[in-house]
């Protein structure tokens, strides 16, 4: 098995003394070539830090990190020949056209003048921006900018694409368009390492998922392996009356997850359909009315919850603010924060 990225005991510490933050805290990770690897983790898990370390933007404090066999500290030039980076925020110039943006990056990737134009046009086509290529980027929508940024990362046909939250801040339609674009790239043999907070995205795009939290690898495997690892099936119970939630939760036991908005209870069960029927029967006997009861295989959501102790971001970005609260606001606001942090 060829390995494209290998991290071992990787540590990145910011600051020192009592104010020190370990963004990466002994991370071990192996990303095989020829696969799409999704790094999944909540805000502050260390996803961006890992991507930046792979892209040679951040120097690890200790541990080793190699990309296509090249050590990021000893041979950063070699690493840069292998990668294409689309960072967490679209780094495109609004005052230039899409084509001009791409052409500069293509030149810097090492394309000759003519090749650069051809490669840029090909990428615009690939990203569905052929018609917009001659327009100034300031007239683009957020989704178009994001696609252009992705295009810029691949205009040099790098072996490994690094995509940091490629779809954050996009509406569902732009998101699925970007997914299609990424899938097409993968089909051409590009290795992809992407980060995401969305389980759905990881499930859809990734061959392999690595869940990281607090700068460490918590679990890894194929989406199916991870779901199996979470083990037991889950029962969803939908109540007719929200007033019954607490009573029902108490009856179902301490592992129950309560969603007050949807009046839904979720509990892992070991005994399959029999246990589901028994549980539902008990609730019914206690006079609790259910509108729906279902037994299902665990989703990555359940896996995530089981492994990290907190829920992942679920749906579209605009709904996620109420979730974990930090940093998942609009891209612009977050960029401001980042700019401040960099000072």
């Amino acid at each position: 098995m060829d390995v494209i990225v290998e991290a071992s005991g990787l540590v990145k510490q910011y600051g020192s003394g009592s104010g020190a933050v370990r963004a990466l805290d002994g991370l071990d990770l192996v990303a095989p070539a020829g696969k799409v690897l999704a790094l999944l983790g909540p805000n502050g898990a260390g996803k961006t830090t890992l991507v930046r370390a792979i892209a040679t933007l951040t120097r690890p404090s200790s541990g080793t990190l190699t990309v296509a066999g090249h050590d990021v500290l000893r041979a950063p030039e070699q690493v840069r020949r292998v990668i294409g980076l689309a960072g967490q925020y679209a780094a495109v110039e609004p005052a230039l056209t899409g084509l001009e943006n791409l052409r500069m990056v293509a030149r810097l990737f090492g394309h000759r003048r003519r090749e650069a134009t051809l490669a840029s046009e090909r990428v615009l086509e690939q990203m569905g921006l052929a018609d917009a290529g001659k327009r100034l980027v300031k007239t683009y929508s957020g989704g178009m900018r994001r696609r252009l940024d992705l295009g810029a990362s691949l205009v040099g046909s790098p072996q490994l694409l690094l995509l940091d939250e490629p779809t954050t801040g996009l509406d569902p339609r732009s998101r699925s368009e970007l997914w299609v674009a990424i899938e097409e790239l993968v089909a051409t043999g590009t290795d992809v390492l992407l980060t995401t907070q969305y389980l759905e995205e990881a499930d859809r795009l990734a061959d392999l998922i690595a869940i990281i939290d607090h700068g460490r690898l918590v679990a890894s495997g194929t989406p199916d392996e991870l779901k199996t690892q979470a083990g037991r099936d889950v029962v969803d119970v939908q109540l007719a009356d929200g007033g019954d939630l607490d009573r029902a939760a108490a009856m179902l036991g301490p592992e129950t997850v309560v969603d007050r908005n949807t009046q839904r209870l979720t509990v892992p069960v070991a005994g399959g359909a029999d246990e589901m029927l028994a549980r539902a029967g008990a609730l019914s006997t206690a006079g609790i009315t259910m509108t729906d009861v279902a037994l299902r295989r665990p989703t990555l959501d359940d896996v995530f919850l089981a492994l990290t102790g907190h829920p992942a971001e679920r749906d579209a970005p605009e709904e996620s603010d109420s979730g974990t609260g930090t940093g998942s606001s609009s891209g612009t606001d977050q960029r401001r924060e980042m700019a401040g942090d960099a000072a």
Partner: protein, 280 residues
């Protein structure tokens, strides 16, 4: 992760289809970045427009509002002012470059550039060269307005040529420092604030008043700081003997001094800029 990978590619074996054949040279990098920055400036006429309006307004204020109250021995104030204003104006235009650098830094552009296999020095030099070009354009327009408001010179073509050549050198030397300010400022607003430093820096020089009129410590600073060397060189070249006679030193002294200062500024800025650019 134990899955086998039937379609795995050997990392270094075959070149990927569509991959570039070589890598970008330092010159290619510099010019690609400079062209990009130049296009951006050309597309936003307000960048150049505001810089010129600002420069011309200040020139008119000095010429007509303050000028009457400032006496310069052996010389009309407009002749004294215009060379000083053109050279010190480089600093004011350069502040706009700092702001742009801070914006680009926050936008993630430099993350992308740093992830590419190109020499960092060339990226930054590309930026500095474009900033210097903008500084020159504004300086030359200001010089033109200077003529319109009464500046006169009998300088020989050779002196003119030298003066313009030196202006290019000064602009390049100063732009590095301002790129650095943009990188370390952290935000466009902060960069804007930092670039206000150009004001005390130009007032504490021979640009607007003769340094002899300043009190002790300030005079010592003003007499030896780079801008004074640059300004006095320009005055000496364009105005000739009547001016050089009023200098404490010869024209050659200022000319050599201004070149030494330019070299020193570049040598100082280069490592600072590289360090700030490569920061985590």
């Amino acid at each position: 992760m134990t899955t086998t990978t039937p379609n795995a590619v050997t990392p270094k074996a075959q070149p990927r289809p569509g991959a570039p054949s070589g890598s970008a040279s330092a010159f290619t990098t510099l010019s690609a970045v400079a062209i990009r920055t130049g296009l951006k400036i050309a597309r936003s006429p307000q960048i150049l427009g505001i810089a010129i309006v600002q420069s011309v307004l200040f020139l008119l204020m000095f010429r007509y509002v303050l000028g009457g109250a400032i006496g310069v021995p052996g010389l009309s104030y407009v002749d004294f002012l215009v060379p000083g204003f053109v050279v010190s104006g480089l600093l004011f235009t350069a502040g706009g470059g700092s702001v742009a650098v801070a914006e680009e830094s926050a936008s993630g552009l430099y993350d992308r550039l740093r992830s590419l296999p190109v020499p960092s020095v060339a990226v930054l030099a590309g930026r500095a060269v474009t900033d210097a070009a903008l500084m020159l354009v504004v300086a030359l327009v200001t010089l033109g307005v200077g003529f319109a408001v009464g500046f006169r010179t009998g300088a020989a073509p050779g002196h003119w040529l030298l003066a313009i050549g030196l202006l290019v050198v000064y602009a390049l030397a100063l732009s590095g420092i301002f790129v650095w300010l943009g990188l370390v400022s952290g935000s466009a607003q902060a960069a804007q604030g930092l670039s206000i430093l150009a004001v005390p820096f130009s007032f504490l020089s021979s640009a607007f008043v003769p340094v002899e009129t300043m009190p002790g410590v300030l005079q010592a600073f003003a007499a030896w700081q780079p801008l004074t060397f640059m300004v006095n060189t320009w005055r000496g070249l364009l105005l000739g003997d009547p001016v050089t006679a009023t200098f404490g030193h010869s024209l050659t002294f200022y000319l050599v001094g201004s070149l030494v200062w330019s070299a020193a500024l570049i040598l100082l800025a280069a490592p600072l800029v590289l360090h700030a650019y490569r920061k985590d």
